[in-house]
């Protein structure tokens, strides 16, 4: 009986990652604080060891600890972009933690970021496609906005903005073409990737608006409608928001 108790104790209580303060806040192991002094209240954390996550038993999200040099370099870029969001706006969209790691993947497919509005966390791959890295930050942040304001970013209304014969893929990774280069063919989409799902399409419009600021210009009437839709609804969340 004593031996049984000892074994039970060992398995129940020896869970070192659970003794970690950051783990208790956002349920991601192996993180350390990078910076918690950002004026807009964002807390930047980084992986000190690789971590695996998953809502189910299967842990299908993987990310690795970044090297110090690249972390320092990319952090500056990420912070510069995220500093454009005010404390008030970030509170409204429920975002507080930015986790920096490299080679982020979900079910072995590389991704720029993984938002989780329940834990108020956005995981960012600091080594993601460097040509589109800054824009991808805003793209991933939009998913947090979308998850918190599903009623504003109604997918059925959005789908009706497209040409009648167009249909999105069943999921963001179902399409074979994930190209992020700007399209110039009056198709109603900024990129090929935008054709994957309504939510990715919205995120692409938002990220182009944020990255190119007022320089984003399209003579495509569908894109024009999409830009208006995004702007109108973002301003409903925070009427002081600046693109």
């Amino acid at each position: 009986m004593i031996l049984f108790r000892a074994i039970l104790f060992f398995f129940i209580f020896i869970t070192p990652l659970k003794a970690n303060i950051i783990y208790n806040l956002i349920k991601i192991p192996n993180l350390e604080v990078y910076n918690v002094d950002a004026k807009n209240g964002l807390r930047y954390l980084y992986a000190i060891k690789p971590f695996r996550l998953g809502l189910n038993v299967e842990k299908n999200i993987n990310c690795f600890n970044p090297g110090k040099k690249i972390l320092d370099k990319q952090y500056k870029i990420i912070k510069k972009n995220l500093d454009r969001y005010s404390l008030n706006f970030l509170k409204k969209i429920n975002l507080r933690y930015i986790v920096l790691c490299e080679n982020l993947s979900i079910t072995e497919i590389n991704t720029a970021g993984i938002p989780n509005n329940k834990t108020r966390t956005l995981i960012l791959d600091i080594k993601f496609n460097q040509n589109h890295f800054e824009r991808a930050i805003h793209h991933e942040l939009f998913h947090i906005i979308n998850d918190n304001y599903k009623e504003l970013f109604n997918e059925n209304i959005w789908k009706n903005l497209n040409k009648r014969n167009f249909g999105y893929s069943k999921c963001s990774t179902c399409s074979e073409n994930w190209n992020l280069e700007l399209l110039n063919n009056q198709s109603g989409f900024f990129t090929e990737y935008a054709k994957s799902t309504a939510s990715e399409d919205m995120a692409e419009v938002f990220s182009h608006l944020m990255f190119y600021k007022n320089k984003v210009y399209s003579n495509d009437p569908i894109i024009e409608k999409k830009i208006l839709f995004i702007k109108k609804n973002i301003l409903k969340i925070d009427n002081t928001f600046k693109f």
């Binding site: 104790f9 129940i12 209580f13 020896i14 869970t15 070192p16 659970k18 003794a19 303060i21 950051i22 806040l25 349920k27 604080v33 918690v36 002094d37 209240g41 807390r43 507080r96």
Partner: protein, 214 residues
């Protein structure tokens, strides 16, 4: 005439060895064993407080921890804590979660009392008074000695469990409801039992009593 007998070299070595053994035994059994030996115990009656109605005394094995509550910052949380303290609900509650040098947590009134400690469930127990809303303050600084109300992963789930941090934790700011700060006796809390790598402390230390000053 009695001849003086000189101690031989080997006898001298044995004598020195016995002295060292004695010192070692005394140190390990008396000094090191007594974790409270060098811990100052504060008597609240010797201290003058400006706001005695918000001073509470947490008594543990090594002495008193004197805490000032902040009803102006978290009125509902302080009201809940005072109510449970006045009921004596925290007496014999375990410090079930202790992270070395970082945090101690107690106050599970359902599964964390001395008489019915349940290792499988401790940390998930309730007070029976229901949960209360989080009272978050972004500007409140969670520095060493801050007392906060614990909650589940979700906000607005605070009940009876509280924690005291043993180092500055800026990550807690705007995350947890602050209820007060340790004014005297933080070193007493550093003697609370922890087991490295265990997130629930086996055979934990207990609160002897948790009382209002007045």
């Amino acid at each position: 005439m009695i001849a003086k007998i000189k101690i031989s070299k080997s006898e001298r070595i044995i004598l020195i060895f016995l002295i060292i053994l004695g010192v070692f035994t005394f140190t390990s059994l008396i000094i090191l064993k007594n974790k409270c030996l060098f811990v100052k115990n504060y008597n609240p009656n010797d201290i003058k407080f400006d706001n005695p109605e918000n001073i509470v005394i947490l008594n543990v094995e090594c002495g008193n921890v004197i805490i000032e509550l902040y009803p102006n910052i978290s009125p509902n949380a302080v009201k809940r804590l005072k109510k449970l303290i006045k009921l004596g609900a925290y007496d014999n509650a375990a410090f079930h979660r202790v992270i070395e040098g970082k945090l101690i947590q107690a106050g599970d009134l359902e599964f964390g009392k001395r008489e019915n400690l349940d290792y499988g469930k401790v940390g998930s127990g309730k007070s029976g008074l229901g949960i209360i809303k989080s009272e978050l303050d972004e500007k409140f600084e969670y520095d060493r000695g801050t007392v906060g109300l614990a909650r589940t992963f979700e906000l607005d789930t605070e009940d009876s469990q509280f924690f005291i941090i043993l180092q500055d934790e800026p990550l807690f700011e705007g995350e947890y409801t602050p209820v007060g700060k340790v004014r005297y006796g933080l070193e007493v809390l550093e003697t609370i039992k922890f087991v490295p790598k265990f997130h629930i402390v086996p055979r934990p230390d207990f609160i002897n009593s948790f009382k209002m000053l007045n």
